[in-house]
């Protein structure tokens, strides 16, 4: 199979609902085995683009491709290659876990031993072995998420589209889900994942795309989507005993400080410079007779990048 085309590609994708531009000229590509994080606030257009990729909706203009096949003109070929986990569960009443997976395995035309093996493999991977005979509508939220991931994986697709898979999960379940997604990427699957929990995406994604009000604002690795200046910026938080507003004014006069926020007894801001520059800044604050109780400097996170990229770019 030729590898010249990306596994997922959105080309000038538009989707309008009357006057609302849910997706507005979005283009990006994801290569084989990559994990792509799709970031944006509620209503940004993530789910709409994902539904178009999953052949559940049609674009108003533009096209999307999975392994080189158009989702508009060849949905059947796309469906064979794609596993979709939507932001709802879609379980049936009076069906247990094994029967549920068996139904979807049959629906993907897996027969005989192939079907049994696929069900066993998925149940082992998602850790559902012990719950094989439990009714699907009686599962906990975390277990339902696992079941939905299992359903998306049952036909061993090359591409996975996961819409908010970690929503509502407890910390342990989130960590386990993250590990599963990383394992899938290591197996060569291409994953498109959306999430509100940006710290999680930062850990598992090779590339991220930031979308707001239907427009894609930035695409690339977390490093790449920052400008050279931004790459030198750290997020700094200073806590003082008193005179917090005076500290804010003092810091605002400095040229190496941006995005300053005063919050209670602390001040948060972006500081241009390396760790030595941060040490010099701390010394300067103390010399200015502010009573510092805490000083923290860290590299900019995905959340910081997201906040800065989305701020003011789309009105």
């Amino acid at each position: 199979m030729p590898d010249s085309h990306p596994m997922i590609e959105l080309r000038c994708l538009h989707r309008y609902f009357d006057q609302t531009r849910a997706v507005d000229n979005v283009s990006f590509a994801v290569g084989r085995g990559q994990v792509f994080g799709y970031i944006g606030p509620n209503g940004a257009g993530k789910t709409t683009s994902m539904r178009i990729l999953a052949t559940l909706d049609l674009p108003t203009a533009g096209d999307a491709f999975v392994d080189g096949f158009s989702v508009v003109d060849d949905p059947d070929r796309v469906r064979r290659r794609l596993g979709f986990m939507p932001d709802y569960f879609g379980t049936y009443t009076n069906v247990n876990v094994r029967e549920y997976l068996d139904f979807f395995a049959r629906s993907y035309r897996l027969r005989g031993e192939k079907r049994t093996d696929a069900i066993d493999r998925v149940m082992e991977f998602t850790g559902l072995d012990a719950l094989a005979d439990k009714p699907t509508d009686g599962l906990s939220k975390g277990m339902k998420q696992r079941l939905c991931l299992g359903r998306a994986l049952i036909h061993d697709p090359a591409v996975l589209v996961l819409d908010e898979p970690a929503a509502g999960l407890d910390p342990r379940a989130r960590i386990q889900l993250r590990q599963m997604i990383r394992t899938l990427a290591d197996q060569g699957k291409t994953v498109l994942i959306s999430s509100h929990i940006l710290t999680e995406l930062a850990e598992i994604c090779d590339t991220v795309g930031i979308i707001e009000q239907g427009r894609l604002l930035a695409v690339g690795s977390v490093e790449a989507i920052q400008s050279p200046e931004q790459k030198l910026q750290n997020t700094v938080e200073v806590r003082v005993l008193d005179r917090v507003d005076a500290l804010g004014e003092w810091l605002a006069r400095r040229t190496d400080v941006t995005n300053l926020h005063v919050d209670g007894d602390s001040v948060r801001f972006f500081h241009v410079g390396d760790q030595e520059a941060a040490a010099r800044l701390l010394r300067a604050i103390i010399e200015a007779e502010f009573q510092v109780t805490a000083f923290g400097s860290r590299r900019r996170s995905l959340e910081d990048v997201f906040m800065q990229v989305t701020e003011g770019l789309v009105q």
Binding site: L56, D74, F84, P86, N94, Y108, G112
Partner: protein
């Protein structure tokens, strides 16, 4: 007798390998068959067997059967041993069986599909490898399994009525066959209704309408069965009985197929071809209708004019309704549909009318109407030319009335469908026209053409007390009834026969530019990636060309 001889056959040393191998083969076959079963059928059977609703309904059917057996026999008293009680007892059991078959099973099919759309599990189903026909087929199969279970519960009771005299076995089978066919037809119609909308409020409206319709069908079936039981015997020995049943079953099968494919088309992905298969079914219906009507006309009816009139009314309604649906299709073909358009000269000439699109649909409907009119002309001509067929001789007046009815009917259908096409084509420039708006426009046009002149005539002191006047020229119903309701042509015939076909020709010509745009569409090549995969999946075979497609 030796000890070895007393061993059961299965335990006999010589028998063991054979029985084991047989059971292993049987088990393998069962597994293979199970693998081939429709996944939805498997899932829904599992669900139904575990569901409380099915358990309660099935229990109630058994309980009602048992209670009716006790009450019926108790009411008959000692008379039950020698009197005729079969029909009465049968009717009671029939009501018990018909309610689940004609109400619960079809409504269950409707709810099953509507519920999948409400719970959004349909979305998950639609992105699997299951096609729309498999989805509808699976739901229908599941309805069939439920029917079989209900039938098996009431069958012993029905057999019992045969022993009570007054009802024969063929009649029991005949009634049951038609009830099962009715249940299947209602189920596929309910599935079609279930595909119409995914919006909750419309689903509620459709649920109520479906229940009302099903209860009405149940009442109708009970009344029909009561009427049948009141007859002395069904005429199983008469050939006309079987001919009528044959014609009915032919119509049943084709309309069942039409409903099935329409439900599947509703679930088909938007860029796919939803129309061609339905158009082929419509054509088959046309051919079968022509076949049966010719048979009746030449055979049992011996050239009676009612046969030709019935044929013209049926075929006219058929093509008008089908044409109205086809005109609602989008004129833009997706690249996916264009990949499979006929390409050769013969293919384009004969198969273009089966391509999706309002213009080709209009032309197909008009062609069907004209073909039917031609058949009527041939039929009338045959009556005069082939004396050996012993057809009843009509007077020239009957002939002209029949031909005038056919010509006017075809012209009216051409006009109203054509006007609908032009209005919808105009509206498409402003807004999207869905199937419901399309149908509404056709109904409104017909109401305007029929209702407005009636209202004017009723309100006019000059015309109020007159019968048909030329004011009703736009009213197809009154005009056609006026022409058919007499043994010779009415006084207005000359004007009608001049104006209506002329208007039809004008409307037809007005629609032609749009039709031509659709006809000019040509096949497009597969995308490179699709061709690559097809080449991988399909080994190279010697190229065959057919006159239909190259």
């Amino acid at each position: 007798m030796s000890g070895q001889a007393e061993l059961p056959i299965a335990d006999h040393p010589a028998a063991r390998p054979t029985i084991r191998s047989l059971s292993a083969v049987a088990a393998q076959w069962i597994v293979r068959i199970g693998d081939r079963l429709n996944p939805i059928l498997v899932k829904e059977t599992r669900q139904a067997l575990k569901s409380r609703q099915f358990g309660i309904t099935f229990g109630l059917v058994l309980l009602c059967g048992w209670v009716w057996s006790i009450v019926g026999v108790a009411m008959a008293g000692p008379h039950v041993f020698y009197g005729v009680h079969g029909p009465d007892m049968f009717f009671g059991y029939y009501v018990i069986l018909a309610f689940p078959l004609l109400v619960i099973v079809p409504f269950g099919a409707f709810r099953s599909l509507a519920g999948e759309q409400e719970d959004r599990t349909y979305e998950l189903l639609s992105i699997t490898a299951l096609g729309p026909r498999q989805i509808v087929g699976g739901k229908l199969g599941s309805a069939g399994v439920q029917m079989a279970i209900y039938l098996s519960a009431v069958s012993p009771c029905l057999a019992f009525t045969y022993m009570l005299r007054g009802i024969d076995f063929p009649t029991i089978l005949f009634i049951l066959l038609y009830t099962v066919l009715g249940s299947l037809a209602l189920s596929v119609a309910a599935l079609l209704v279930g595909t119409l909308t995914a919006e909750k409020h419309w689903q509620v409206v459709l649920s109520v309408l479906s229940i009302l319709g099903l209860v009405y069908a149940f009442g109708g079936a009970c009344a029909l069965v009561m009427e049948t039981l009141n007859w002395a015997d069904l005429p199983f020995g008469e050939s006309e009985f079987w001919q009528v049943n044959g014609a009915f079953l032919t119509a049943y099968v084709t309309y069942f197929a039409l409903l099935f494919y329409a439900a599947s088309a509703q679930l088909t992905f938007v860029s796919d071809n939803r129309s061609t298969r339905l158009r082929f079914v419509m054509l088959i219906q046309h051919v079968l209708c022509v076949g049966w009507m010719s048979w009746f006309w030449i055979g049992p009816a011996r050239g009676e004019e009612e046969v030709l009139l019935a044929f013209m009314i049926l075929i006219g309604l058929h093509w008008y309704v089908m044409g109205a649906f086809m005109i609602g299709e989008s004129p833009d073909l997706s690249p996916r549909v264009k990949r499979r358009l006929p390409q050769s000269f013969l293919g384009r000439v004969f198969l273009t009318w089966f391509n999706p699109g309002p213009g080709t649909g209009y032309l197909l409907a008009v062609s069907g109407l004209l073909a039917a009119l031609l058949m009527v002309v041939l039929g009338v001509a045959a009556q005069h030319l082939f004396e050996s067929w012993n057809l009843s001789r009509w007077s020239s007046r009957y002939t002209s009335v029949t031909l005038a009815f056919g010509l006017l009917g075809a012209s009216y259908a051409t006009i109203y469908l054509g006007l609908g096409l032009l209005v919808i084509r105009f509206l498409r420039r402003i807004t999207q026209v869905g199937i419901l708006l399309n149908l509404l426009i056709h109904v409104l046009l017909l109401m305007l053409g029929s209702g407005v002149p009636v209202v004017i005539q009723l309100m006019s002191p000059e015309f109020r007390y007159l019968d048909y006047t030329l004011l009703q020229i736009t009213n197809p119903l009154w005009t056609l009834a006026h022409v058919a309701d007499r043994s010779n042509l009415p006084a207005e015939a000359a004007v009608l026969l001049l104006l209506i076909p002329f208007t039809a020709a004008i409307v037809f010509l007005l629609t032609l530019p749009g039709v031509a745009r659709e006809v000019r569409q040509v096949r497009v090549a597969k995308p490179k990636r699709v061709a690559e995969e097809d080449a991988e999946l399909t080994p190279v075979r010697p190229v065959k060309t057919s006159p239909w497609d190259n």
